[in-house]
């Protein structure tokens, strides 16, 4: 690891890490573009993949404009949990070798949290995922 840090500059290091911060900043842009933020070229398909991973696909499709819904400055028009999961989807879509979740499922109900943790174990096999959690219970799964 030391060597990696030594060899890489910050940019290429960041290319290898996807990160879900504690506060979920979204751009006032469509949900599709928000999820595809880390990609060179994303489509509604890639956005949906991320959304399914984060368990927010049903919510988004429930909106009148679906993935084209514009989230408003700082994502004001979404509920706390929806915002958080879109932020998870955004990190997942980047498909980086390392995924860090910093207390990222705190605003999500138990059922959805379950889905996400389940998806992490299944879909990120062979890649590193770091979960920072305030509650011990999250580690059980």
């Amino acid at each position: 690891m030391n060597q990696v840090l030594y060899l890489s500059n910050i940019d290429s290091l960041r290319d290898h890490i996807a990160y879900v911060p504690q506060d979920n900043f979204l751009f006032s842009d469509s949900i599709e573009h928000n999820i595809n933020f880390g990609l060179e070229s994303g489509t509604e398909e890639t956005a949906r993949m991320g959304a399914i991973f984060a368990g927010v696909d049903d919510d988004v499709r429930g909106f009148n404009k679906g993935y084209q819904t514009v989230s408003g400055e700082r994502g004001v028009t979404l509920s706390g949990g929806q915002k958080q999961r879109i932020s998870i989807a955004r990190a997942y879509v980047k498909n980086a070798p390392i995924l860090i979740l910093d207390d990222s499922v705190s605003a999500v109900d138990t059922k959805t949290e379950e889905t996400i943790l389940h998806n992490i174990t299944n879909e990120r096999k062979g890649k590193t995922t770091l979960v920072v959690a305030s509650r011990i219970q999250q580690f059980h799964s």
């Binding site: 940019d11 960041r14 290319d15 890490i17 996807a18 990160y19 911060p21 504690q22 506060d23 900043f25 751009f27 006032s28 933020f37 880390g38 919510d59 429930g62 909106f63 009148n64 408003g72 400055e73 700082r74 004001v76 028009t77 509920s79 706390g80 949990g81 929806q82 999961r85 955004r90 980047k94 207390d103 705190s106 605003a107 999500v108 109900d109 138990t110 059922k111 959805t112 949290e113 379950e114 305030s134 509650r135 011990i136 219970q137 059980h140 799964s141």
Partner: protein
Amino acid sequence: MNDDNEKLFGDKKIPFKVMMKRIGHYVIPEWKAFAFAFFLILLNVGGDILLPLIIKQFVDSIAVTKEAPIIMTSLSTILGISFGWLALSILSQTFIYFESMILQKAGQRIVYKLRMEVFTHIENMSQNQFNMMPVGSLVTRVANYTTSMSDLFTNVLVMLLRNILTIIGVYIIMFILSWQLSLILMAFVAVVFVASFIFRNIVTKLFRKERQYTSDMNTFLNENLSGMKIIQIFNQQKRKENEFNVKNKQLRNTKFKVLMAFAVYRPFITFVYFSALAVTFFVGIKLNFTPGIIVAFYNYLNRFFNPVQNIADQINQIQKAASSSERLFNLLDVPPEVLDKPNPIVMDHFEGRIEFKNVWFAYEKDEWILKDVSFVIEPRQTVAFVGATGAGKTTILSLIVRNFSIQKGQILLDGVDINDIEIHSLRKAVGQMLQDVFLFTGTIRNNITLHDDEYSDEEINKVCEYVNADKFINKLDNGLDTEVLEKGENFSQGQRQLLSFARTVLHKPQILILDEATANIDTETEKLIQDSLEKIKNIGTMLVVAHRLSTIQNADQIIVLNKGEVIEKGTHQSLLRQKGYYHKLYLLQFKND
């Protein structure tokens, strides 16, 4: 609603007459200043016009012979002319001094009032309205538009007035001096007017674009500076740079075009001016003018072409100010969606009984978020809202303090419709601890008291201890006086939430709202919080949203929501017996614990 949206974005046209009336509203209180300034301008312009006449007198008093100039008048006359010249100049400049002081001050008073009015107006807009406006564009309105509007009164109108008066005055004198020459010069005036008209048309369009692009850029900057963390984490600096570059280029290119227009227009006018001079000399000699008259014409032409050239500029500024005022008035015209009724009921004490009666609510038309929600919460009860994310829990809580207005049904507090209660007294009685804690820049103390000086340190410390925030505050070198950075960046989420607890409890609410506030706090801190919440519960009615069932088992009532509908109601035990949705949630969580 659509009409209001148009106003929000400032695109609604306001008729000229209405506009004048509204601008008048700001000018009339300052009428004395304006009248006095107007008087001074008259004097100033008068002096300015008379100066060349003195020069004429002087020149004509010198006769030129082959040997040497012979002065035909007495020394005393020459002295008189010189002093007259000096006195008139001093007077004229003194008038300018007073006039600009008076006007600038009046202008500043107007901007001050306008900024205050716009800010207060923005403060009173509902959350819904606020969410539609990008912050960057609001900043532009409060900061820039108010200034450009007041420029109208202080600089533009005055200069325009001065210029018009000068043009008329100068032309009259030229006409008296030689009507033939003045008529010939009319042709040049016509050329200048046509050129100015064309120029104005081009530049108006450019200025409108420039303003649009500036506002775009502010909005872009505001959002992307706030989201810089995300941009860096996702390594998107290049892309954002490109996006910024597009906006930057647009602005630069527009500025280039403006420069270009001026660069052609100004020299052209100067060329016309020089041509007029040439004609003046020619005609002057042909018509046997005295040297004094030729010199006077030379002076007057300068005084004539300068204002003509500036008028086009000023008309532009007037248009700029007009469109700024339009956008400002548009914003001021949006009625706040949530307003006090004419004689609102001021409640200084609430028992804390809350009732939702068949409440329907949608953020956007026909997209119902709450569907026929009904429930009753008795005074001093603790009630928990449970449901999947997006079910409408936060929405319900924000309706109680009237952040939004409901479309159908009724919300009652102590049996009174909340629409009849004075908003201030309503919000004062309800303490909210929200999903995202917002901290202001300032000190911890200011964030807890919200700048209310009536609280002593002792009280603040007591409250901090009560909510268990004292532990981390005491560890800080400066304690309560520790600086809080923008949005509380220098505190952890858990700490921020503890501060918001302290803030709420200090203001002694009768109804408490707790939205997810325990979500980001570690297991140990949560125990402390739980402990203090047990105490807070006794303060009054308490509404809690929490995803963790353990936090809500002790609630007097649990309301289970699904997709905006109440599907179950009851105590923990009774809901478990029902074996419904809540039961399922419980099993899921139980498995994890």
